[in-house]
Amino acid sequence: MTPRSRLHVPAPPARPGQEPDFSYVQISPAGAVNRPDVTAAVRDIEYLSDGLVRVLDEGHRAVGPWDPHLDAAELQVALRHMLLTRLFDDRMQKIQRQGRISFYIKSTGEEAVAVGAGMALQPGDMLFPSYRQQGLHVVRGRNLVELMCQCLSNTHDMCKGRQMPIMYHWGKGNIFSISGNLATQFPQAVGWAMAAAIKGEDHIAASWIGEGSSAEADFHYAMTFAAVYQAPVILNLVNNQWAISTFQGFAGGERRTFAQRGPGYGIPGLRVDGNDFLAVYAVTQWAAQRARQSGGATLIEHVTYRAAAHSTSDDPSRYRPKEEWRAWPLGDPVTRLKAHLIALGEWSEERHSDLHKELEAHVTACWKEAESYGTLTGGPSLDPLTMFEDVFKEMPANLVQQREELRALRAAQPAAAPAAPSVAQEG
């Protein structure tokens, strides 16, 4: 037989009806990975891209060199942020199922990725999230009513009805706009960080990308520019195993970790247990300190699992085992942090249940307020004529004319309305 070439088409270890199998996920014991100095040379810390930084052990204790030694009050705040993010997601999903918003994306199972990083950064640091880091808004104290109003495209919508639900932004909170196109924010974050350095400021940027969209050229642009200019930026790659229906092997994760791409560019690559709040906090703190000391960028691969569907338009039971999330070896981030606090004697089932009730009531109250500013089907409504605003800073003549055309059309709709003025111009 003459040898001939043959394509390798990646296949996930389990499809619907099969037993979940996560044996491909390489896991280091908690506390096992060394924590180098933030000034370490990339070539000396390549092991960070192969191991898995973990702090919480099986007995729910914080162990090893990456333990950030947060006090109980800070841990309780973290638990609160993560639980609020989860309850907010759950409520918005239900609301979508009731037809009251058009679309939603949950971050269930990935709350520690956003909350851990968000808490380790400073308020002046600029965040360029993808669409599953709503926890960043929660950490920075965003009023949930504003997020809900965006999902409703109502009169208080920050996007004035121009974006699908969850494409938030927050200028005052230093959280950049979610585009809706994937990966584009990654090199933009590098540019933002370059500008901070050019201006001599010590703020850094952080961005998030999925392992799936790390296949886009934008990932390569971001890594190259970050490496070349040693830009003060943290590049987070959230490996939640699934990009809609394609597993992480289709993004190139079968033979090397995503973190290992970092050293290939000359950037430290850290692989972290993304469901371990303390580990995410610790690696973010390490990378932030390195960036602020002119040490340049860090790539952090957050190993986690997308426990929810990709979005409300997705049905994962068609492509992965229904109960796969139960077999995920790194557990659930909320459950783990809660167990840690209980192990410390700083939390209890009762307090957790109270917090749950309090946050549920908070979400309910927020939704009630949000609906008072307008719903998908009921008023008050945004003025459609505002669609012509903000295309440019000042409205050019063609848009003024089109706005007047629409104004006239709308005025002509009720029977009693006066005839629309002619917009045609004589030659």
């Binding site: 706009s177 809706g180 933002w192 350095a197 050019i198 605003e389 295309v391 440019f392």
Partner: protein, 338 residues
């Protein structure tokens, strides 16, 4: 006042703006130490330092994305894409990001980026160094598209672009970097020094974006054109000895409908000339605009003179280029119509 060619005028615009406004940065391939393959950024890094004038990796998508990030962080980036033909890897960042950031955030975020890029043929550049893709960018809501035809306008328009808080794609017709070109490649090159628009103030001034200019007044026919073709049209009109009105569009988006249509309504006849391909080219928009506003004043169907609908061929560029003969034929056709 100084005598400048277009390269010097563009260089002077960036020099003026780098000097006046600490937020201005220049970035692109070879723009720093070397001063750009066309020398447009010559000396700027030496004068303003390597944090203000940055060489970049060869990654147009990365250059534009980085510029967007810088722009959203308070800088005013001027990004050079070495040839317009190379801009496509950055197209998504222009269309989906740069053009719509202000819109999708209801004005809360924006990136005042200027993208400079040399365009057009006639330099033996073949199909990858000759394109005129202005129409593609005019189809994108949220960016302004500019193409100057002479050193004075080049400097004034580039300063206006850098000062503008909206993104601008600034096309530089590279065939006329060093002198006005009348479309005849066999004639010796003519420098800008003998041209009135080669007189350029040393300091700051603006040529407004969104304003066309009547560069030759006339009553027989209106020619709508821009970039290199302004000079080819002028030569064709001289050759025919007709009294044509020539309008240099200068800004493709937003379009100065008033100046264009006032002229066409006056003359009653119109020819549209551009170097880019014809089908769905920018001329189609010009013709549609003329039809909408001037139909009852027209004495003849509007004609288009453009590049053929083929890629720009290396060996046959003077058969491809819409030169004086084709322009003259269209003008005669329009003038002879009843």
């Amino acid at each position: 006042m100084a005598r400048m060619n277009m390269v010097q005028a563009l260089n002077s615009a960036m020099d003026v703006m780098l000097g006046r406004d600490p937020r201005v940065v220049v970035l692109g391939e070879d723009v720093g130490y070397f001063g750009g393959v066309f020398r447009v950024t010559d000396g700027l890094q030496r004068k303003y330092g390597e944090h203000r004038v940055l060489d970049t990796p060869i990654a147009e998508g990365g250059i534009i994305a980085a510029a967007i990030g810088m722009g959203s962080n308070g800088l005013k980036p001027v990004a050079e894409i070495q040839f317009a033909d190379y801009i496509y890897p950055g197209f998504d960042q222009v269309v989906s990001e740069l053009a719509r950031l202000r819109y999708r955030t209801a004005g809360e975020f924006y990136a005042p980026v200027t993208i400079r890029t040399p365009c057009g043929g006639g330099i033996r550049g073949g199909q990858t160094h000759s394109q005129s893709p202005e129409a593609i960018f005019t189809h994108v809501c949220g960016i302004k598209v500019v193409m100057p035809s002479n050193p004075y306008d080049a400097k004034g328009l580039l300063i206006s672009s850098i000062e503008d808080d909206d993104p601008v794609v600034f096309f530089e017709p590279k065939r006329i970097y060093n002198g006005p070109f009348d479309g005849d490649p066999h004639k010796p090159a003519v420098p800008w020094s003998g041209h009135p628009r080669g007189e350029v103030p040393d300091g700051h001034y603006n040529v407004p974006i969104g304003k066309a200019e009547v560069v030759r007044e006339g009553k027989d026919v209106t020619v709508l054109t821009y970039g290199t073709m302004v000079h080819v049209v002028e030569a064709a009109v001289r050759g025919l000895g007709i009294d044509a009105e020539i309008v240099d569009v200068r800004t493709m988006a937003p379009l100065d409908v008033d100046t264009l249509c006032t002229s066409v309504c006056k003359t009653g006849r119109c020819v549209v000339v551009h170097e880019a391909t014809r089908f769905n080219g920018y001329g189609a928009e010009l013709v549609a605009t003329v039809q909408e506003h001037c139909f009852w004043n027209l004495e003849a169907p509007v004609q288009r003179v453009t590049g053929w609908d083929t890629p720009y061929p290396h060996a046959f560029e003077w058969d491809y280029f819409p030169g004086q003969a084709r322009i003259a034929a269209a003008l005669k056709h329009v003038l002879e119509a009843a």
